[in-house]
């Protein structure tokens, strides 16, 4: 766990601009070569409520959020009241002089003076914050100039003036601050060259790298940023992003496009995905490739729309009536979001099956500092065939079950699909022998998926007494927890599943059997991966650490739960 990280928490009501402050600060840190880890906690409303934007930053990699707060930027009184107990010994509150900070160490800022117009208060807060961590003001000046440049010189100048006034005001205060240690990355005049990116943006980019060109969607938090990113970036790439009447339509439209040769994806969350299940089954029956980004939030029903949970593994695994193969990829980092999204298109095309990317609100909204992706390492995915003879048979019985897929309207071949059981040439049938052959053919494709899956990866101690088993977005907190627990006395390692289906027991049984204590760490109430592994292998978890209060895991949460159950 990084010793040198600083945790900045910006809190206030929706509409006060806390995200602006947070994003500017985070961007500046990334440009200067620092690692960042952003956690956004917001209420499901456009105005009011209590929201936070937490940036944990430092020179070393940071994998998870922490509870402790070093710098609390309070845009309202409530933020102080709610979070003062999290302040560390050296912590400081940055707040308007009108707020009651009690006897907390605080910078009581005369915002009225520094920013006569209320709309500049964000920039003033940013100036004080940057100054408090000794962040280079020139860096911020450049960033503001770049961002507000479109709005004209006057706007830029006004913002810079407020920024400087606030920055300098803090320096004049009789208040000792601890500066950030220098970053470890070479920073040129154009900045570190690293990117500030959220999980969902990385999914969109990975999809584009794979050639994704069709994404119909219905808005649903926390998945909507994927189609938004696709439409923003797809402008020059010719991506069709269509907002449709409901998720049923989104799914079926994507299947239609995929049938006609597009690389199609849908993005949704639990409730929306529930409406897509019928279409998942249609993809299974018609052997139409489809990528499904399922970005989880707590359920049941509308649940907690803006919070996080890992409770839809079973939903993805069992969605759609009937039996057909599928793959479920579960990225643990922003980089894995990119890599797995790219891979999802490859798997979908090669198995002609539905492939899931299962993420959640925490990673979806979490900004990180990432190195630019080497696009040469991610080639465009091969698409379906465009040529076939007139005797083409869509579902030809081939040894591995994956029949050559041809796009209609590009050759003399007619392409026939049927959601009813069908013969190899796609025609409806009730011949029950044919039924058995076709069902077997479809199920055979599971082997294609299993042969080409992501192995679970071990982190930290390679030969631990205690093993923390996790999947998807829990990776970061589990790694930090393993280090913490090791420092407390017991060698602890991590086994992370970046793919939870299909499962190949030979890939992970020795790890499970090699540790004295195996603890499953999952963001749900029932231990869905633990149950699945037990069902598949008979292995029973020794312990489970589960979280389902809508918040992401932290190292302390995991370590405390593990120790309490000793």
């Amino acid at each position: 766990m990084p010793e040198t990280s600083v945790n900045i928490l910006v809190g206030g009501e929706a509409g006060q601009g806390l995200v602006t402050i947070g994003e500017f600060m985070a961007k500046a840190l990334v440009r200067s070569g620092y690692e960042i880890h952003v956690t956004q906690d917001y209420m499901s409303r456009v105005r009011g409520g209590h929201n936070t934007f937490a940036i944990r930053t430092g020179p070393d990699p940071i994998w998870a959020p922490v509870e402790d707060v070093d710098i609390l930027v309070a845009l309202d009184q409530e933020t102080i009241d709610l979070h003062k107990s999290q302040l560390t010994g050296q912590g400081v509150v940055i707040a308007d002089e009108a707020f009651d900070v009690g006897d907390l160490p605080a910078l009581s800022v005369p915002f009225k003076e520094l920013a006569p117009k209320p709309i500049f208060r964000n920039v003033a807060a940013l100036g004080v914050l940057a100054s408090t961590i000794c962040h280079d003001i020139e860096d911020l000046e450049q960033l503001l100039t770049k961002t507000f440049g479109k709005k004209g010189d006057e706007v830029v100048e006004q913002n810079l003036e407020v920024l400087r006034a606030a920055y300098n005001w803090r320096k004049e205060q009789d208040f000792v601050v601890e500066c950030m240690p220098p970053s470890l990355v070479d920073v040129g005049p154009e900045g570190s060259g690293r990117l500030m990116m959220q999980g969902n943006q990385a999914i969109a980019l990975g999809a584009l790298a794979a050639g994704c060109n069709f994404c119909p969607f219905y808005p649903m938090t926390p998945s909507t940023s994927i189609p938004l990113a696709l439409s923003a970036l797809g402008r020059d790439l010719g991506v069709v992003v269509e907002q449709v009447e409901d998720e049923i339509s989104a799914m079926n439209m994507a299947l239609g496009a995929s049938f006609a040769g597009a690389k199609a994806m849908v993005a949704t969350s639990g409730g929306g995905f529930a409406l897509m299940c019928e279409g998942v089954s249609l993809a299974g029956m018609t052997e139409t490739p489809i990528v499904i980004a399922l970005i989880q939030r707590p359920g049941p029903a509308t649940g907690l729309p803006t919070r996080t949970e890992q409770a839809d593994l079973n939903l993805a695994l069992y969605a759609g009536h009937g039996e057909f193969p599928r793959a479920i990829l579960t990225p643990g980092t922003v980089e894995e979001c990119f890599e797995l999204a790219h891979k999802a298109f490859d798997l979908a095309e090669r198995s002609q099956s539905p492939v899931f990317i299962l993420s959640d609100q925490y990673l979806a909204d979490s900004y990180r500092s990432v190195a630019p992706f080497d696009l040469n390492a991610y080639p465009q995915i091969e698409g379906p065939l465009l040529e076939a003879d007139p005797y083409y048979v869509r579902h030809a019985l081939v040894p591995n079950g994956v029949s050559p897929r041809v796009v209609p309207g590009t050759s003399k071949a007619l392409v026939v699909l049927d959601s009813d059981e069908h013969t190899p040439d796609g025609h409806i049938t009730e011949d029950l022998d044919v039924r058995i052959r076709m069902n077997n053919k479809r199920l055979k494709k599971a082997k294609v998926l299993a042969r080409d899956m992501f192995q679970p990866v071990r982190y930290e101690d390679e030969d631990p007494e205690r093993l923390l088993v996790c999947w998807g977005t829990t990776l970061g907190a589990a790694r930090e927890a393993a280090r913490l627990l090791t420092s407390l006395g017991e060698r602890t390692g991590v086994l992370h599943f970046q793919q939870v289906w299909p499962l190949v027991p030979e890939q992970f049984m020795s790890a499970l059997e090699g540790a004295r204590e195996v603890v499953f760490v999952e963001g749900n109430a029932t231990g869905q991966l633990a149950a699945l592994i037990r069902q598949q292998t008979g292995f029973v978890a020794h312990k489970q650490v589960l979280r389902y209060d809508g918040l992401p895991f932290t190292a302390r949460y995991i370590a405390t739960a593990v120790e309490q159950s000793e």
């Binding site: 496009a257 597009a262 249609l282 209609p408």
Partner: protein, 278 residues
């Protein structure tokens, strides 16, 4: 006759799929004939036609025609078809749905496909009943009519599909009947040829599940009813309220030229590309 046989050989999967599943007197066979004659007359290559069908008796038409076909799921044909059209605009996409398919489970998709005005030809075969599943009422079952699920008569009002399509923004809206096959073919051809969403409601009798329970003695009776009561729009407009009762107007109800969604999309993409390059 030889001409007919030739067309059948050219467009039907005649050696594989027949005899067909339709009951004696079912109107759907006439629609099937009208469809292939329309495509033939327009001279569309088979490879450039994609037929997307829903589920129900009408959906079976997809099994008989020798085009690219997708027998999709109940209610979802239009969404699947929109994906096909947006992905490959050069295909002529024809959707075949029943009344329950298009206006009950797929009602929302119908409204929005019309609103988007995507260039799809939607043929809704309206027999006022769910045929394949045994005669349950549909959103177009007339008030008072008997169905398996309305044993005491349908209480609810029926949808007027023409009004629905017109209000939702479809370029082309027509209603025809299988008794007036020439007129029907004209509507189908127009819908295929014109840009934008073309909705053709087709009155197609189902004696088995509807006629028998609603005082029709034979299938022929139902065609006789159509002959007398499916009146051309022009005559309908001149009729008194009194005379209109129990009758239904057929004809073209909306003819607009707005470009289809796929065309507007391509134009926007070209414009943005040009802007980006500048």
């Amino acid at each position: 006759m030889s001409h007919v046989t030739e067309i059948i050989h050219q467009y039907l999967r005649h050696n594989k799929k027949f005899p067909h599943v339709f009951c004696p007197g079912c109107g759907h066979g006439i629609v099937l004939g009208s469809l292939i004659r329309s495509v033939h007359e327009l001279g569309l290559p088979k490879d450039d036609v994609a037929v997307v069908a829903g589920i129900g008796c009408s959906g079976r038409i997809a099994a008989y025609v020798d085009f690219n076909t997708i027998h999709s799921t109940h209610g979802r044909a239009l969404t699947f078809a929109t994906g096909v059209k947006m992905s490959n605009p050069k295909l002529h996409v024809i959707c075949i749905m029943g009344d329950g398919d298009a206006t009950a489970i797929g009602g929302n998709h119908l409204i929005h496909a019309a609103r988007r005005n995507v260039s799809i030809t939607a043929l809704v075969l309206n027999n006022n009943i769910y045929g394949m599943t045994g005669g349950q009422c549909s959103p177009t079952t007339p008030e008072g009519a008997s169905a398996m699920t309305t044993p005491y008569g349908q209480l609810e009002k029926a949808f007027d599909m023409v009004e629905l399509g017109r209000a939702a923004g479809a370029n082309y809206v027509a209603r025809g009947s299988v008794f007036q096959a020439n007129m029907l073919e004209r509507f189908i051809r127009t819908a295929i040829e014109r840009p934008g969403f073309g909705l053709v409601e087709i009155l197609s009798p189902c004696y088995t599940q509807f006629g028998r329970k609603n005082h029709f003695k034979t299938p022929v009776d139902m065609y006789r009813w159509l002959k007398e009561n499916a009146v051309p729009r022009e005559s309908w407009e001149k009729m008194t309220e009194e005379k209109r009762r129990g009758r239904i107007p057929v004809g073209e109800f909306a003819i607009n030229d707005a470009p289809g969604l796929e065309q507007r999309y391509a134009e926007m993409a070209a414009r943005l590309k040009e802007e980006a390059e500048r």
